[in-house]
Amino acid sequence: MIKKILLLFQRDLKVSVRNFITLYILVVPVIFAVVINIFSPGINDTTVEIVLLEGENPEQVEYFKQFANVTLLETIEAVEERVRKRDHIIGVLPDGSQEYFILTQGNEPDYIVDYVKNLTAFDHYGIGTEDSTAEIVDYGRDIPPLKKLMVNTAMIFTSILGGMIIALNIVEEKTDNTISAIHLSPVSRMGFIAGKSLMGVFVPVVSAFLILTITGFRNINYFHAFLMIVTSSIISILIGFIEGINNDDVMNAAGNMKLLFLPLFGCIAGEELLADKWQFLFYWIPFYWTYKGNDLVLSNSGSWLDIIKYAGIVLGISIIVFLVLAPRIRKGLE
């Protein structure tokens, strides 16, 4: 039976590579990874930007460059004009000898203004990081939070792509009317479903590992990652089957799969932005738990117990969905 399941999977893989849409879906994760590498900020990148007058105080420029992005402009008018633009750039301009004033639009967050104010004061009094008596103790995490968020999201996203390919393959079987021919071979109904499902595991696992490798997450526990990826793909596989059964057109099936993006991005936004008291609103979404589990995997701070806990919750929710959808899937593939 395993041989036949693998045979069905091989066929789907072969045909998927020949189809432009599915080939594109297979390549998308690599594009993601490259884009994440290009756009995600490094660990030492800062979002605080300061504009200074060029040639006015080169020592101050060097000092500020250690802690912020510095832009130099030739005239005071140019600096004023730059500060008026929409972003949160802060101007630091001379106000008589040894005196400086801070120029803002007025709508910048206080912490940015205070940060620049402190920098200006520290520079004035010649205080550097070496003057601090504080000892730094860290957890050794060297991944920028934004990059971790993007990689985490991309990993979950690949599971939806796997479901999408399943939907497209089912639509192909329906269009070619080949399901009846498979049913007249010694492949059981469950064997057929299992064979079709393998693409929904293969695509997320390979894609997610590619993303992890390309984006530099090479020292994490890959077994933890594997467990989270496989459990998160179950829900996408189920939806892939349902969309394949319900649609006779490739574009409709792919389009309807996009509905999964809503709970995916919704729960990530909720987890990142909402207070703890509102988190319960997302407990029903398996992607929410996958996101939390992946976060531990990517920060390399989760124990096996933590990972099994999150994978178990995702599996539990997926089993409930499976019990609801299984009769429809079986009937739809008759």
């Binding site: 036949k4 045979l7 066929r11 072969k14 045909v15 020949r18 189809n19 192909e172 269009t175 070619d176 009317n177 080949t178 009846s180 021919a181 498979i182 049913h183 007249l184 071979s185 010694p186 492949v187 059981s188 008759e334």
Partner: protein, 287 residues
């Protein structure tokens, strides 16, 4: 002789009510027989066939195929049966050869060489073209070839020559005869009485879900055809038409006399066609 298909009191309703698409159907097919299941569209032919191969669930009745009870279908049963569908169903994105190579690996029994089958149905030279680019007839032939890949003991053929040009249809009929000579039992579903007449050992007429008659085409023709010979001949320079009984008194002698003493223009036995017998028995046409 061993029974390959046994059907007793088969009923099927698509809406699970008393409106039966198949209504109390019973028949048996012996090993090595070509059995024709004939009837107009919507008569219940495909429904019966789909129940026999397990594509439709058995609701009521007893069905045994190749020794397997259809109530509890075992996957092994499919090693013994093959089916050529009326609507071709091959993977359009795979070549003809890839379609057969893929399908053969699904079986647990010795299978036939895909290229042998491709040559058999006249698709050699086209085996590496994607099936999606095949014509309707080519797809139909590929579907037909695929149904033989596992050397089936029972071969279900649903309208095997529909849509094929006469030369290819003749080739398909030859293949069916050859396979049957090897001992393959054939269940042929069609509304084409000519192919049934040429191939079948026995036929069943089905209308409105009920079998009206089962017998061999030869017996049916003898029973329902008139035992007359129609002759057109010249008598004293004029063309004359006459009918002579081959059984009633004096008819044979008169026929011999006409043949001896007159120039014959045409002469036909008044043998009934299966189509005429079908209409006579069921009161319905075949369309």
């Amino acid at each position: 002789m061993k029974k390959m298909i046994k059907v007793e009191n088969l009923y099927h309703s698509y809406n699970n009510d008393d409106n039966y698409a198949v209504n109390d159907v019973s028949f048996e097919i012996r090993k090595g027989e070509i059995f024709g299941f004939l009837g107009p569209s919507g008569a219940g032919k495909s429904t019966t066939q789909n129940i026999l191969v397990g594509l439709l669930q058995l609701q009521r009745g007893e069905v045994e195929v190749a020794g397997y009870d259809i109530k509890h279908i075992k996957n092994k049963m499919f090693n013994k049966i093959g089916m050529s569908f009326e609507q071709s169903n091959v993977y359009g994105k795979m070549t003809g050869l890839e379609n057969l190579e893929f399908y053969r690996k699904l079986f647990d029994v010795e299978t036939r060489e895909p290229m042998e089958l491709i040559r058999m149905v006249g698709l050699d030279g086209k085996e590496n073209i994607k099936a999606g680019e095949y014509s309707k007839g080519m797809k139909h032939r590929l579907t037909f070839a695929r149904s033989m890949i596992n050397n089936p003991e029972i071969w279900f053929l649903d309208e095997p020559t529909t849509g094929l040009d006469p030369a290819i249809a003749a080739n398909i009929k030859d293949i069916i005869r050859q396979e049957n000579e090897k001992g393959v039992t054939v269940f042929l579903t069609t509304h084409n009485m000519h192919i049934a007449d040429e191939l079948c050992d026995r036929v069943a007429f089905i209308v409105d879900g009920k079998i009206r008659l089962i017998d061999s085409p030869k017996k049916l023709k003898l029973e329902y055809g008139e035992k007359l010979v129609d002759v057109e001949y010249f008598r004293e320079g004029e063309l004359v038409k006459d009918s002579f009984s081959t059984v009633a008194g004096g008819g044979k002698d008169r026929l011999v006399d006409v043949i001896r003493n007159h120039e014959i223009q045409t002469m036909h036995t008044k043998e009934a066609t299966l189509e005429e017998i079908f209409i006579s028995v069921t009161g319905r046409g075949l369309v």
